[in-house]
Symmetry: D2
Subunit: 99 residues, 4 copies
Amino acid sequence: MAGEGCCSGGLRLDPAVRADARRRLLSVRGHVEGILRMLEDDTVYCVDVLKQVKAVDGALDKVGALILQSHLRRHVVTAHERGDEDRIVDELLELLKYR
Amino acid sequence: MAGEGCCSGGLRLDPAVRADARRRLLSVRGHVEGILRMLEDDTVYCVDVLKQVKAVDGALDKVGALILQSHLRRHVVTAHERGDEDRIVDELLELLKYR
Amino acid sequence: MAGEGCCSGGLRLDPAVRADARRRLLSVRGHVEGILRMLEDDTVYCVDVLKQVKAVDGALDKVGALILQSHLRRHVVTAHERGDEDRIVDELLELLKYR
Amino acid sequence: MAGEGCCSGGLRLDPAVRADARRRLLSVRGHVEGILRMLEDDTVYCVDVLKQVKAVDGALDKVGALILQSHLRRHVVTAHERGDEDRIVDELLELLKYR
């Protein structure tokens, strides 16, 4: 799952952002568990589930946005100085492709 | 969380779709836990986390698409017959707004 | 371009929505022409163009949303009564797929 | 429409990308005119129009992706060297916000 992008160049996710992302993902996990409980009810209504799925999606997007912002500020704007700009730009375009 | 949309009309999420959604959400939960473990590593690289967040987003979108498809087939195309078409359309537009 | 979806069943875009869509698309065309003029300037800045492209995208999405809303209200909620619900749902899922 | 982002720093859209964007936007304009003609037909079917709107949306997204790619390669990865990284990152986050 991890690792293949880790790097001799020492690019690391900022500790404060990492901690914030963990907090938010713990909340996402709790929210997913809430939907699992909803789905035990055989009278549950489609749209009520869809609203919760959409809310989790929004929470995940927020996690992604925080990490992306940190990556831009710390790693992307300095890529030419480090000399890894090709990799940095290709990775970013790949990530943004289906947003 | 649930309930407010549940309905005298008896609109219910199809049992097979409900079971499939549960299976997929259990996998989403496992994937979120995988990202939480990645985030314990203080050398983790931003883009590796972003790729996993994007993958979870895709899995959630698939859950939403399955439920939406079932809702369209079972409840939306029959709304005029039941007489609840205003509510059905308004709900749907609300859900699709920020996709 | 058109035609293949047109229909013995007589499903037609509502005249008021059609007129509104035309007005909005005329404005979209004008906006695209504005971007074309921007692009004649060899000092134009990437982000200024991207902002305009995004604005046009938003205007087009609004056109799509209006037509979708009308389609849901007039054709989708009555599909079971007409008996064309399979086609109606398949078309809709195809359209929503990459939104 | 233009101008406010143009820059003492001399950041300019790459001429080849500018030419490509113009070609593609001319095609977008033609496609919009095609939809306008469709909408003159009072029997036009909602979904046929929606398909064309979606196709234009896709073509516009491609224009945006090309300019974004050029902006990343030429201006973003060198922002720290120029010293305008705050502006560059803020602009980018603003643009990506609702994609």
